[in-house]
Each structure stands twice: as C-alpha cells, then as structure tokens.
C-alpha cells in the first residue's frame, strides 16, 4: 500500500512539473515554439487514440481523419461567434440552429468528441465484422466519404471554402491537458480488465470469444473511444491552425498518424508519445528541405511534399531495424524507472 501511495505521489509531482513548465512556456516561449509544442500534444492525442484501435485491439482502421474532421467541424460550428459565421458563410448562409448558437470552447470540444464517437459507433457497428485489409479499406472509405460530404454540405460546412479565422483558443493548457487526459484514460483502460479483453481480441479472436469476451461489444467499444479522442484532437487542431477545410482531413492526415503509431510501436503508448513528439518537431524542422536550396552551386527549386519523402524513408528504416517500432510493445513506467536506478545504485555500491 505504501509503495502505491509513493507512485501516485510521484505521478502528481510529475504532473505538477509539467504544469509549471506549461505555465512558463505559455508566457515566455516564442509563439513558433508554442505552436510546435501544441502540435506535439495534438499528435499525441491522435496517435494514442489510433493505437488503441490498431495496436491494442488489433483492428486496422484508416478512418482517423474522418473522426477528426467531425470533431473539428462540430466544435467550430459551436464555438464560432454568430458574426464570424456570417462572415464565413458568404455564399450559402449557415442553416438556422448553428447560425445563432455559441457555446464555450471546452464544451464544444467535448461535444465534437461525442459526435465523433457517435459516428464511430454507427460506422463501427456494421464494419467491425470485417477483419484485416477489409476493415482497413472500409474505414478508409468512410473517411473519404466524410470528406466528400463535408465538401458538398455547403449550408453546414461551407463546402470546400472551409472555415477561416477561427478563434485561437487552443493553447498549451488545452492541448497538453487533453494529451495527458488521453494518456491517462487510455493507459488506464489498457491496464484494466477491459484492456485485457481488447488485447486478447488482438491475439486470437476465436480464443477470446471462447473465453467469454463479447467480440462485437469490445471492438465497438475500442472504436468508439478511439473516435472520441480523434474528435477531440481534431477540434483542438482546428482551433490551433485557425482554418479548416475538408481537404485538411484527407487520407494523408490518417497516414501521418499511422506513421506515428507504427514508428512508436503498435501497442505501446510510450512509443506513440515519443514518435508523436519527434514527428511534430521534424515536421517543422524539415521545412528546410521544401524550400529552394543552393546545392553545391546548383539552384534547386522548392519541392512541396519533400518532407513526406523523408518521413517515408524514416518509416522504412524503422521497420527494417525495429520491426515492432521504437518501443515494441513495451511501456515506460515509473516503477521500472525507479527499479532501474535502484539496481544501478546497488551495482555501484557493490562495486565500491
């Protein structure tokens, strides 16, 4: 019991340190750095939630961009002010209930997540009968359908013009708060009896079912939870980049998150967090390769999309050398951390 208390104390201290850091960062840091840190957090939310579906439950879903789109649009429609909406919808006016309502940012983000989860249920219920590649194709199709619907639903989504000038509510508090909550929620879920059931589905569906695990219920559950956090991630992303249009949430968005999950390791939350952070930082860092360069005297023109080429290479290298991602299925935990250091100490003591 005492040990348990120690760990929860350490957890609280850790969160406090993060909070202090966020507080300082939000006030002192360069806006550019803050933006990258925000992106890190959002990628963490998206990666961890996709890892729940793909890594822990073993259902290969490519629908994350669709859920993000739903979260981003639903929340934006709720937190934008009526005047801003009027300015945005200059071709086709926004239909009635949305045109007048405005609710606080936090609630609208949650509502965005809930609607995404609801859609996750509606999509997941029929689709999760499928396995492997088939499920991947269907969920990919779903995400494309969402994008096309949003492109054409002019009176609600403003079509391909998208929504511009969204208020920048997302700050480090929201994004890292969301990321920490996501990590907390999903790692707790994974370590619970429900998590064991999800992992057993990944390992062997037939055996899991024979052990009394209701396949349908648990698969849909994981899908819905994943969709909820994808919606939240999308909502935060919308308010961070301040402009959304349906093509923001194209297939390449899903693939970015897939890259994060695979590089980090399917079935490792720690791995996803590390990979998401590296990804967000590299994403900005590698802008250099897309700008015109002077390469040994020859002038190279700017090549848009060059960054993705670099990421593909990284992905290939990781898959070649770390077949199961950076972390494999392992996790970082305070317990092991302390154990590791106390062991080292002992070795030193014995040595001296």
């Amino acid at each position: 019991m005492k040990k348990k208390n120690l760990y929860s104390l350490l957890n609280i201290i850790l969160i406090l340190i993060v909070a202090i850091f966020i507080n300082i960062a939000q006030k002192r840091f360069d806006p550019y750095i803050i933006r990258i840190l925000n992106l890190c957090a959002i990628y963490v939310i998206l990666g961890v939630s996709l890892n729940l579906i793909n890594g822990f439950t073993g259902q290969f879903s490519l629908g994350h961009a669709g859920f993000m789109a739903i979260g981003a649009y639903v929340s934006a429609l709720l937190y934008m002010s009526p005047e801003l909406k009027e300015m945005n919808y200059f071709i086709t006016p926004l239909i009635w209930p949305f045109s007048v309502i405005q609710i606080p940012f936090f609630i609208s983000v949650i509502v965005g997540g809930i609607i995404a989860a609801l859609v996750g249920f509606l999509v997941g219920a029929p689709c999760l009968r499928l396995k492997g590649d088939y499920l991947a194709i269907v969920t990919f199709g779903f995400s494309e359908i969402i994008r096309i619907i949003f492109n054409n639903l002019q009176s609600i989504t403003n079509g391909p013009i998208g929504l511009k000038g969204l208020p920048a509510f997302t700050n480090l508090w929201w994004s890292w708060g969301g990321a920490i909550f996501t990590i907390f929620f999903i790692s707790n879920l994974i370590n619970s009896s429900y998590g064991r059931a999800l992992k057993s589905i990944r390992e062997d569906e037939a055996a899991a079912e024979a052990m009394g695990v209701n396949l349908f219920y648990h698969k849909v559950l994981s899908f819905v939870v994943g969709a909820f956090f994808a919606g939240i991630g999308g909502a935060l992303l919308g308010s961070l980049v301040m402009t959304i249009d349906p093509n923001t949430f194209s297939a390449s968005m899903t693939f970015q998150i897939i890259v994060i999950v695979i590089v980090g390791g399917l079935g490792s939350i720690t791995g996803t967090v590390i990979a998401a952070t590296i990804f967000a930082i590299l994403m900005e860092f590698l802008r250099v390769v897309e700008s015109p360069m002077n390469f040994f005297g020859t002038k190279l023109p700017a090549i848009p999309g060059m960054r993705m080429l670099v990421f593909s290479t990284i992905l290939m290298v990781v898959i070649l050398f770390f077949k199961r991602g950076l972390m494999g299925g392992k996790e970082f935990s305070l317990k092991q951390f302390i154990k590791f250091f106390s062991r080292n100490n002992r070795v030193i003591k014995e040595g001296s």
């Binding site: 009896s193 992992k199 055996a207 052990m211 009394g212 396949l215």
Partner: protein
Amino acid sequence: MSVLKSDHLTIKFGGLTAVSNFCVTVEEGELVGLIGPNGAGKTTTFNMLTGVYKPTNGKIYLYEQDITRKRVDQITALGIGRTFQNVRLFSELSVIDNVMVGSHLRLKSSFFQAVFHTPRYTKEDKQIREEAKQLLSEVRLDKFKNKVAGSLPYGEQRRLEIARALATKPKLLLLDEPAAGMNPQETKDLMSFILKIQEKFKLTIVLIEHDMKVVMGICKRILVLDYGVTIAEGKPLEIQHNPEVIKAYLGAEANYA
C-alpha cells in the same frame, strides 16, 4: 438432469454433411471421449456445441436450456469451457493475464468504473488476480506467472490453456486433443492432471483424443464418429472390440490380417 444434451445435430457445408444426427446425453460428472479417424467431424461437433458453427438442424441443451442459437461468449458464460486442437493462447500476454481474461465475463464494474479505477473496480480486479494466482498454483504454473505465454514449453502451454478455460468457471469442459504432440511422460502427467481437475472443480468433461492410451485410460464412455455419423457408443472395452470401429480405423479388409 443431464449437463449436455444434443438432439440430432446436423451441419452441412454446402453439399457436404460434416456431422449428421449427432445425439449425445452427458450426465453430471462424466468423462466422455469422442474419437474417430481424421476428418470424422469431431472438432466440428465441438464447434457446434460452443456456438462457433450454427447447426443446420438439431438442438443443443445445456442443463435443459436451449443454447443452439446463442453466441460463443454467451455459451461460455453459461458454463461451457473449451481448449483448442492447436494451442491458441494469447501468446503476447503474460501467463496470469491469459487466465484473467477468462474472468472478464464475470466483471461487474462498468467500463467507466474500470477506466477510472474506482474502489469498486480495484477491489474486483484484486479478487480476480487472487483467483487467477490460485488457479495457476493449482495447475503448477505459478512460477511462470509473469512470463509471456508464448515463451512457455509446449506441455505448459497446454496446461495453461486448460487453466484459462477453467477461469471461466465452466461446468462442462471440452478438451480438443489435449495430448496432441506430447511425449509419453507428458501424456501420463496429463491424464492424472485431467482426473485431478475434474475432481477438484467438479467438472463434466468431453474430450477428443487420438491417443488411445488416454481415451481408454480415463474415459468412462466413448463415442465414435466416422464421416460425421456416430457409429458406436459404449464403454472402452466394448469400443475396442466393436467391428464397426475396427473397420473405420483399419479399413474393411482388416479381418484377414
């Protein structure tokens, strides 16, 4: 009251009748063997009893309750546990997690209680863990508790599979070739192990087995399937001398030898 009763179970895959008119009544505490040549439909029968396949015709009763159209997990919850012909453990989970999955169906805490580790859930989880530990010590696997299931030696994996099935607290246990791939010593251990758990957990057991030493050694009653048809039923000695059975196993011309 019979534990299991199947009434004219028939299953057809397209034009092929895999099992036809399978009738069996298993009483409390029995140990029944199901034998037959390869492809006779033994595993198919198990799959029907556990709900993996829905029979084309016929009914299955567990304690006189009709379970024919129920889902696999519902049937497990009602009290049929099973193992598989080729070991199907959750190989990347730890040994104790494998067993604890079997307790998930009895979890009373809701999803959110589990996620937020409320006191109620924590208490339940602790109890499940204790039960799993106890079960593991009964099957002598407690020293492997935190090992990854896939890394265990084969014989241990077999035992773990049985332990995992026991964690669902079955009344009827279906064992699909428990001795497959075991050496004579392991087989001998397995036989006493099966008898031990039957007594300990008050189980009724039906087992499929090719190893006649096992079947004749521990089964009180044997059913013989050939091409989906039940060709004989009776005590081990009767089965050994049944001409139909000899014919099925050795071919029609066996007599001249």
